[in-house]
């Protein structure tokens, strides 16, 4: 029994994630039941006016799913790039005491490149929202 318990609660095995699975099941159950409940509990008096989109009271014009400003895409793309660069800091941060100053200098170089990219996109106006 003891070995099993250790096995189940050790932080390095996949089984330490088991409670998370439990929680996921619980959360799923909660969300599902609530969704069903609200579906069955509420009244259903549908009219066509009620079911159209609300656009400040005036009639809806065209489809809402039009291309949005390219800025948003750009933000998304930049996020992907910079976020991944940030990910690189994590393994470094875990080991940085062992790596010492040498590693620090390497990371400074990395940050330098990071900043180069950052300054570049700034200068290119990728982050300029005030038009």
């Amino acid at each position: 029994m003891y070995t099993d318990t250790v096995f189940l609660s050790a932080t390095t095995t996949p089984f330490s994630y088991f409670p998370i699975v439990l929680q996921l099941v619980a959360a799923l159950g909660f969300v599902g039941i609530t969704m069903l409940a609200t579906h069955f509990l509420g009244p259903k008096r549908k009219t066509s006016d009620k079911l159209i989109n609300f656009e400040s009271g005036i009639e809806q014009k065209g489809n809402a799913r039009q291309p949005v400003a390219i800025k948003y895409f750009l933000t998304a793309i930049l996020f992907v790039l910079f976020d991944v660069e940030v990910i690189f800091f994590y393994p470094y941060a875990v080991n940085f005491r062992e790596l010492g100053w040498e590693g620090f200098v390497a990371v400074l170089m990395f940050v330098g490149f990071f900043l180069c990219g950052f300054i570049y996109i700034t200068k290119k106006g990728a982050l300029k929202w005030e038009d």
Binding site: F113, C116, I119, Y120, K123, K124
Partner: protein, 457 residues
């Protein structure tokens, strides 16, 4: 190593040059200066690696071969800048960015020439590929360019996925990423490793556009802005071959393992030769013809890989130089013309004798006629295959294909010299002409004295 650092830094610098230099005609000079510096920096490393490779963290091993290949790549890129640098300015506002991307590609190439770890191989291939996707789509308004870019991107990343799967399977079998320490040459080959090697053959064949993984090439090369096609189909392709060669000659050469992939690769080579040449024959546009001819030339370069001996590495250096210089030159002249069909060249010799002469020399070189660099390039790769001993059938096939290649290369020569017409040619500057003469001189000098290049190896 120097080449890698200097090109990567140059790329960053160029990016910023674009931000601070207003006149876009000046950017080219920065690029040329940067590439000259990179060239010199690369050569400066030669004495230190003359006796043995310089290993860095088990990731990179700079060897004489790597330095020499970098010199070739940087040198041909310099020539490319000199010849076509001004074409960049027609591509819109982001001239400096395009130069920067080219430098990043060069960084990838120099990595490809000196990786000693599968991780670096992967990075090299990707650093080479990703900027190309952008360059292919540089002409944002043109649907053809868009399509080229999208197609290249999808196909390129697909092959990356396959390459990665190959690497992973090899890792699963060998437990290491160091190409010198994979130790797969034992008597029996692990099935995972076998699958991995085959996937890698496929993926790299994809990158160097070998049949049957070539289908993206003509469309992409045709659709991309011509100035970038010139670069993508030459220097970058050579970089792919170097990666291919280094990988397979270091890791998969020994013992029984080479039997498994050389057969596949020799079939690929045969297919590439035959299909590339036959398709090129039927093209009406010179640009598209060059696209197919680049497939055909890839077939020859594959000889260097498949024949597994030191002639191969000499051959790949010479072939890269000869092929890149000649193709860059032809493209440079092509860009000065309005009409990219064969008829567009009609009567060029009468109107612009220098341009026509240059194109003729370059095409001779591509066809492998003696006294041009292309002859010795072909000579070396064929020698490599003959030395191998088991590939004589392939050699004979290659010879037949080389004869076919004369057909479509000479169509241009015939159009220029033997037909009459009024080609529309842009005014060319004195600098362009000087660069063209330089290129001709290089082709001829390498054609007479290939050892000027190879004595460094």
């Amino acid at each position: 190593m120097n080449a890698l650092i200097s090109t990567a830094l140059s790329g960053v610098v160029l990016m910023f040059v674009g931000l601070f230099v207003r006149n876009k005609q000046h950017i080219k000079f920065f690029a040329i200066a940067a590439i000259i510096i990179a060239f010199i920096a690369n050569l400066a490393q030669y004495p230190s690696v003359q006796l043995g490779g310089y290993v860095m963290y088990g990731m990179i091993e700079v060897t004489k071969f790597g330095v020499l290949f970098n010199a070739v790549a940087l040198g041909t890129t310099l020539l490319y800048f000199l010849l076509s640098g001004s074409e960049f300015e027609k591509m819109g506002e982001h001239v400096a960015d395009y130069f920067a991307l080219i430098f990043f590609i060069l960084a990838g190439i120099s990595l490809a020439a000196s990786f000693s770890n599968l991780l670096m191989l992967f990075l090299a291939i990707e650093i080479m590929s990703i900027p190309q996707y952008i360059l292919a789509g540089a002409d944002k308004k043109s649907l053809k360019s868009n399509e080229a870019s999208l197609k290249y991107f999808l196909m390129g990343s697909f092959s990356t996925g396959i390459l990665l799967m190959g690497i992973t399977l090899i890792y699963g079998a060998a437990g290491s990423f160091e190409i010198a320490a994979l130790g797969l040459g034992a008597e029996s080959v692990h099935p995972l490793a076998l699958c991995g090697i085959i996937l890698m053959v496929f993926a790299l064949a994809f990158k160097v556009s070998a049949v049957p993984f070539h289908f993206w090439t003509p469309d992409v090369y045709d659709g991309s802005p011509t100035v970038f096609t010139a670069f993508m189909s030459t220097v970058v392709k050579a970089g792919g071959f170097v990666a291919f060669l280094r990988m397979f000659h270091t890791s998969f050469a020994g013992g029984s393992i080479s039997h498994h992939w050389t057969l596949i690769l020799s079939l690929i080579t045969a297919g590439t030769l035959v299909l590339g040449n036959f398709s090129a024959v039927f093209q009406q546009s010179v640009k598209r013809m060059l696209a197919y001819s680049s497939i055909a030339q890839a077939g020859f370069m594959l000889f260097a890989v498949v024949s597994l001996n030191s002639m191969g590495s000499q051959g790949i250096i010479l072939y890269s130089a000869a092929y890149s210089i000649a193709t860059i030159g032809v493209f440079a002249v092509l860009m000065k013309l309005k009409d990219y069909t064969f008829e567009g060249f009609n009567g060029l010799a009468r109107k612009e004798p220098l341009l026509a002469g240059a194109v003729a020399v370059f095409l001779f070189s591509l066809a492998g006629i003696p006294v041009t660099a292309g002859f010795f390039a072909k000579y070396f790769v064929l020698s490599a295959a003959i030395l191998n001993g088991r590939l004589l059938w392939l050699v004979v096939l290659a010879v037949l294909c080389a004869a076919i290649s004369v057909y479509y290369y000479f169509r241009v020569i015939i159009a220029m010299y033997f037909k009459t017409g009024e080609p529309e040619v842009e005014q060319t500057s004195g600098g362009f002409k000087a660069a063209l003469v330089l290129a001709i001189a290089l082709v001829l000098v390498l054609g007479l004295f290939p050892n000027l290049l190879l004595c460094w190896l």
